[in-house]
Subunit: 144 residues, 2 copies
């Protein structure tokens, strides 16, 4: 490992970038069986917690804007996991709600999580430390 600060090996940003891709790749075959992509899975995670949410709320939870979410949600609707309907009280809002099929999917997603958990294979304390570090880095970057 060189001491050049610009060396790929010395870059936290690349370690994160590569790990993120590795996760996406590991999830892909499992999620394909559920008819989901990885970002679609993240949206479903939000909905499994909240049951229903506006587009903006989902965007805030995941850090995505409408340019990403609008077409993604249409695809999720076409697949049949969500419903999109304009709010009565505020016609600007589009409320996203789980369909029965979307609710049922949660059980199968838990199996996917179990499989990935085994693949990662590091103990909970290490994982927690990693997540804390990542969140701190993220916060610092977003505040700066």
């Amino acid at each position: 490992m060189t001491d050049d600060p610009l060396s790929l090996d010395n870059q936290l940003c690349f370690a994160i970038y590569a790990a993120s891709h590795a996760f996406t790749k590991a999830y892909r075959p499992l999620l394909t069986e559920l008819g989901l992509t990885y970002p679609q899975y993240l949206v479903m995670l939000v909905l499994w917690e909240k049951r229903a949410a506006s587009v903006t709320e989902i965007g805030a939870a995941l850090g995505l804007d409408t340019g990403t979410l609008s077409p993604l949600l249409k695809r999720l609707e076409k697949t049949g996991y969500i419903r999109r309907e304009r709010s009565r009280e505020d016609e600007r809002q589009v409320m996203i709600a789980l369909t029965t099929s979307g609710v049922i999917l949660k059980t199968r997603a838990q199996d996917v999580l179990k499989t990935i958990g085994q693949a990662i294979g590091c103990d909970l304390q290490q994982m927690q430390a990693l997540m804390d570090g990542l969140r701190r880095v993220r916060r610092n970057l977003e505040e700066a």
Copy 2:
């Protein structure tokens, strides 16, 4: 924080996904001044280390395939930072080499790195621990 294992807050994959986006967003305005996107910057990191490399070598270093690299490298060529020329010894290979302009760019990239380093603002030991953890997770995922 809930105890639901499917909760967004409890997912290492999302912490990594979000941190990766945060990095890209932090880099974007700085790299735009250099005429680079973030993935293009990663390619330049490889070339600043190696001076020249085949498409496959760059792909191996970054974990990207030709479907991603082919058009990306054409854009880098159009910007003027690299040259693409078929290898004489093996006509299948396209060798990517830095132009003078690409070599010179490294100095400015070091300033970008300094700015980002300040934004992250965590000490080197913590950063090293983070990188080690991420690499372990990545290795486990790729082996599984």
